[in-house]
């Protein structure tokens, strides 16, 4: 009797998601294994031999990896600082981190077009102080995509790490120091291992987010395709749904694999985390 109530509460939402999301996703994945009515892996074999597609896939993976590294390098010290300052500064800095996160990605990517464009703020500044002779071509390159993605996801890794660093027992650090550990020693032997779970979760969020991002590469990438803009182009402009479905499946598999493997690593490092 009680069980019936529970399932009745869950049924409408579960049914809605099944009809409009789960079944369409499964049908999309299933459709990639059929070519003119017969079962085959041909679609995948074709794309994994296609230099153009492999190039796009590798560029996307490289861009996501670099973005994740930069986000960790910039985000970790900032999160560490925020977790140590007084409450009022902390609240202010947290609000300033959350605000960009909630702001439209179109606005945030567009703001970089004003800065790194050929006649943009950055070039004007560098030219006027004589650091460069010719304006830099940053906009519409993979570098532009990386800058935009770091800007997009840095707040995410900062606030994820703050959550972990705040829970770290201050006494552990004092203990390590009083037992003679150097500052670097405290960091590598105590702070870093204890923040691993947060670092892994944050890295998954940034990597997967960068790998699947559409708006930033669409605005800042120009002709440089990444996997999501390639999917969009095939699904709409080229009307090639078979290719789009294959790309969609590859994206699902890669994001799931990365998430599962990274979670396993996090569990191995810190089973309690």
């Amino acid at each position: 009797m009680r069980n019936r109530t529970i399932y009745l509460l869950l049924l409408p939402g579960a049914l809605f998601l099944t009809i409009f999301m789960v079944i369409p996703i499964l049908l999309t994945i299933g459709s990639t294994f059929f070519n003119e009515g017969s079962f085959s892996f041909e679609g995948y074999l074709h794309y994994f031999q296609d230099k153009y597609f492999i190039g796009i896939l590798l560029t996307t993976l490289r861009v996501s990896l670099v973005t994740t590294f930069i986000c960790i390098l910039l985000g970790f010290p900032v999160a560490y600082y925020i977790s140590k300052v007084g409450t009022r500064t902390k609240v202010l800095l947290l609000l300033l981190s959350i605000f960009p996160l909630l702001t439209s990605s179109v606005v945030r990517s567009f703001s970089w077009m004003i800065i790194i464009g050929k006649n943009g703020v950055l070039n004007k500044l560098l030219l006027s102080i004589g650091l460069i002779e010719e304006p830099l071509n940053i906009l519409y390159t993979p570098t532009a995509i990386i800058i935009g993605l770091v800007h997009l996801f840095l707040p995410l890794i900062i606030i994820t790490l703050i959550g972990v660093l705040e829970n770290m027992d201050e006494d552990l650090l004092t203990a390590a120091e009083s037992l003679g550990a150097s500052r670097l020693g405290v960091f590598t032997k105590v702070v870093l291992p204890l923040s691993m779970p947060g670092l892994v979760i944050g890295s998954i969020l940034v990597f997967v987010g960068s790998f699947t991002a559409y708006t930033t590469p669409a605005l800042l990438g120009g002709k440089q395709r990444v996997i999501s803009t390639f999917l969009y182009q095939n699904a709409t402009t080229l009307n090639d749904w078979h290719t789009a479905a294959i790309v969609a499946t590859i994206m699902i598999v890669i994001t799931l694999l990365v998430t599962i493997i990274m979670n396993q690593i996090a569990y191995k490092i810190n089973p309690k985390g």
């Binding site: 809605f16 947290l94 981190s97 994820t160 559409y214 709409t236």
Partner: protein, 262 residues
């Protein structure tokens, strides 16, 4: 220690310049008097703010976005509140599977969702584009609604519900008169977070465009492809004001812990 902290403080300051600088620059450029976006501005005017209300595609798509986000939000609440309640209140067979299903719209890449919605909801199921937008946005809002309301329910003492029940209140009556009023602030926070998520969405909406139907962010993208005038900067400022307003309300209702928890 002090010395090290100063270095860290400078580093943090520079990172925040990187994070907020672009938003500041785009805000300043919105007041440019000329017709080309530039920084610093040469003359001052409000004319690009006026221009937003003169461009038809912004007005209609703004209406579309508001309607889709509000209607989708309502449906996400109707589907999500009972589900969040069942998932936080009871232990039952298949709970982890159902939990995964309700959170899955966040785990699947947005651009993949958008493509499958176009292919199945619009093309195979033959729903009009407007309805497709409504369904798609409901789906992406559901995980946020469930997450915020679950976290609100996690601090709710269910023994109050049992007390009301043992005093003779019906199950449904208890839910509406005891549970719902207690999670009111969680519901408002859920509405605001889900609204921002839906209103700013590009990945789903970019596939759902048709004659006269398109959402606001998609029109912004289209506009940027052809024009490089300060209209988008003016729109950005207005969106940032709305975002800040929503953020402060969520902060008042839930505190900042909602954002730092993963």
């Amino acid at each position: 220690m002090k010395q090290k902290n100063r270095g860290l403080a400078v580093f943090t300051f520079l990172v925040f310049v990187f994070l907020l600088g672009p938003l500041l620059i785009i805000s300043v450029t919105s007041f440019e008097g000329g017709s080309v976006l530039k920084f610093p501005i040469e003359t001052f005017s409000f004319k690009w703010y006026e221009n937003i209300f003169k461009v038809n595609m912004f007005l209609t798509s703004f209406k579309t976005s508001i309607i889709v986000s509000l209607a989708g939000n309502l449906l996400a609440l109707i589907l999500g509140i009972p589900a969040a309640y069942a998932l936080s209140r009871f232990d039952f067979k298949g709970k982890s599977v159902l939990n995964a299903v309700f959170i899955s719209p966040i785990l699947i890449p947005g651009i993949v969702l958008g493509f499958t919605f176009l292919r199945y909801i619009v093309t195979t199921y033959h729903f009009p584009i407007y309805t497709g937008l409504f369904i798609g946005h409901t789906i992406i809002m559901l995980p946020f609604v469930i997450r915020v309301i679950s976290s609100s329910l996690s601090t709710f003492d269910f023994s109050i519900e049992e007390a009301a029940h043992s005093l003779g209140a019906s199950k449904i009556g208890t839910f509406f008169q005891v549970v719902l009023p207690n999670i009111k602030s969680g519901i408002i926070a859920a509405v605001m977070i889900a609204f921002l998520e839906s209103f700013n969405n590009v990945d789903i909406s970019v596939f759902m465009t048709g004659p006269g139907v398109s959402t606001f962010p998609i029109q912004m993208l289209t506009y940027v492809e052809t024009y490089f005038d300060p209209t988008i900067a003016a729109i950005s400022v207005m969106l940032m004001i709305i975002t800040a307003f929503f953020m402060f309300i969520v902060e008042r209702l839930m505190g900042l812990s909602y954002f730092t928890k993963r």
